[in-house]
């Protein structure tokens, strides 16, 4: 994409104005995002539409279900009678009523037992009667393996011939909700500034816009990127806004990426990373998601990049020195950019996220050792994959029936009409026209547990 400055003149027509073409060809809005390198998240979501996508919704809330494991452990209360020795029955009290008759249950230490009959409600929960699943008359269940707080789980079922029925368990998905909010910005372009325009050339198209508008647009897009990361929901559990604006209307805002994944999988580091620590975190993500061959996009600031570089350098060159053959008399260029790492079937790709470095935002919390903002060390592991045609991370934009409120740009004419200087019609008397920009959107992480963070602490 090329930029150059120009002057308002005979070539700057309404037909090749960027604002006009934004209305005709909404995809240009995404093209615009690519011109600013600081928009890492928006680049992947709106810019490429490759790793995540944008979708229109008619409501300002989006709900989606996630189902976890299809079984769950039961927690021992520590109350037991008997130990099952000599094929005798024994009872164990659990907090939950989840086991069924004839379930085979595995306790800590590997001892297995079969549930004999229905549970009985008791003071600490539910008491189940068991018989050990064994052919050894000396086998017994140690009390230490059913101590309070320990868990047991089913490993199958065991029925005799001619049994009457099987039993059912129910698992339900967890429902998640996030909201979309409205962001706006405006700029007045005075009659004197009218003649300064900027041309952009991209994909064979040559479009222009007012230079004064550029700063506003740039700031707006930067705020949108910040919003996608840092936004916090204003909505309560009943779907009502807790923040009322000065005009008495509720302000609706959803959670950004960080709020949605803040407790998902989180670990800390003190500014120094090792390959072991990265692998351990990948293992943690793998353990929780069960995914094979996942590809994590890791968004991080400069400090995170440096920490990653050092970890990779220490892995590849443990001596600290790069060994190379320098031919006498030749110029030698050394150094490597570590951008990706593979371990245990998982792959990560580092994405520089300049907003984590922003001194205006994070200047109050500096790492005393390196001098970087602590936020710059943040490494956000996002699963930007697509499962069954559904992207894990999606931008939701208000719209339906041909309406797309992803990026609305309008000019309001004053004493200056950008496209018709001879027009006698104006919306106000100012020696300027106003450019208004609006976006009604939000971001959702469908499965927050498939994401994680390494943060400085």
């Amino acid at each position: 994409m090329k930029f150059h400055q120009g002057t308002y003149g005979k070539e700057t027509m309404q037909s090749n104005a960027l604002s006009t073409n934004l209305l005709k060809y909404p995809e240009i809005a995404k093209t615009l995002i690519r011109q600013y390198p600081q928009y890492s998240l928006n680049y992947f979501i709106d810019g490429t539409s490759r790793f995540a996508k944008e979708e229109l919704i008619g409501e300002n809330a989006f709900r989606w279900p996630i189902i976890g494991r299809l079984n769950r452990p039961s927690t021992c209360t520590g109350t037991i009678t008997g130990n099952g020795v000599g094929f005798s029955t024994f009872t164990v009290e659990f907090q939950e009523n989840y086991f069924n008759p004839n379930d085979a249950v595995k306790f800590k230490g590997g001892t297995q037992a079969i549930v004999i009959g229905e549970p009985v409600a008791s003071s600490g929960g539910y008491t189940f009667t068991f018989k050990l699943q064994t052919n050894d008359a000396n086998a017994l269940l140690l009390a230490a393996n059913v101590a309070a707080g320990l868990t047991a789980n089913t490993v199958g079922s065991a029925f005799p011939e001619g049994s009457d029925r099987g039993y059912e368990n129910h698992v339900y998905p967890d429902w998640y909700i996030n909201y979309i909010g409205i962001a706006r910005k405006s700029k007045s372009i005075t009659g004197s500034a009218l003649t300064d325009i900027t041309w952009i050339e991209n994909n064979g198209q040559r479009l222009w816009y007012f230079t004064d508008e550029e700063l506003m647009r740039e700031e707006f897009l930067y705020q949108k990127e910040l919003d996608d990361w840092y936004s916090t929901s204003t909505m309560d559990a009943n779907g009502n806004s807790t923040v009322i604006g000065i005009d008495g209307k509720p302000i609706v805002k959803g959670d950004g990426i960080l709020r949605q994944i803040d407790a998902a999988n989180i670990d800390t580091y003190n500014g120094t990373l090792t390959e072991d620590a990265i692998t351990a975190f990948l293992a943690q993500l793998k353990l929780n998601t069960g995914n094979k061959n996942s590809h994590w996009m890791v968004f991080t600031g400069t400090a995170g990049q440096v920490a990653f570089h050092k970890a990779m350098k220490d892995l590849v060159y443990p001596s600290g020195n790069l060994v190379y053959d320098a031919a006498v008399g030749q110029e030698v260029e050394i150094g490597v950019n570590f951008t990706s790492y593979n371990a245990i079937g998982q792959r990560l790709t580092l994405v520089h996220t300049p907003i984590f470095d922003d001194p205006n935002l994070h200047g109050n919390d500096i790492d005393p050792v390196s001098g970087y903002p602590k936020e710059s060390f943040r490494m956000v592991f996002l699963d930007m994959g697509v499962t069954n045609g559904v992207a894990n991370i999606e931008r939701k934009v208000k719209g339906a029936g041909g309406i797309d409120r992803g990026m609305i740009v309008k000019y309001i004419a004053g004493m200056v009409n950008p496209f018709d200087q001879k027009s006698m019609m104006a919306a106000n008397s100012r020696d300027a026209f106003t450019c208004e920009i609006l976006c009604e959107s939000g971001i959702i992480v469908r499965n927050p547990l498939a994401c994680g963070q390494l943060v400085y602490a």
């Binding site: 803040d262 943690q284 929780n288 994680g452």
Partner: protein, 229 residues
Amino acid sequence: MEVSATKVKELMSSTPSEGLVEIRLKDPKRSGTITVRGYSDESGNYRPLVDQNGKERVIKIQRTLNLNMKNVNDRLALAHIQEHPIYIKGSTPILVVVNHEVEANDFVEKKNKESQAMSIIEKLEGEPLRDFARVLLITVNPGSSDKVIKRYLYERATKDPELIINEWESDLRAFKVVIRKGIDKGVFTFRNGRYSFNEELMGTSFEAAVDYLKKNEDLIPSINLLLNK
């Protein structure tokens, strides 16, 4: 990294030595695995997470973590987690410490104070009841019955028992009664934030007026005569 036995003692010094504490996930639905390890405290000093032998360790939290304060490892875990700069003290905490012992203590202490405040009010009747209500800025209308006044005092005692106890035990209560009663009966004037007696400025705040009266105790007999007219 390994720390000394003295350091281990120092690290867990902020924790109780008995009772049960829970470390709960603030949003279990959104929580995966929260890994706790050593961190830099607010002063930038590294605080290791260690076991009772001083050896550095890691705790992974996936659901409520139950800690028994009779167990040294659990005490060390609590001491470490409750000061965590991200998980507990961050802008959006993701863990919640529920100390059953402290909660029970607070509850019992509050109930004891409530009971103490209630017993003070219970004994009051007639003019002393009205005087004490005035000290607490409860408007006493000439026709108000004792029961109505008591009801407001009991309500105040439920919300803020400490206020009732402090005001009752205050050395200045007698002076406060005189001023509140004096304003009600027109002995003192309170206008434009100024308390006056016989055209003389007592102060520009209630506390200043009380202080004035305390310094001029010799005026009280004559004021009492005016109040009892």
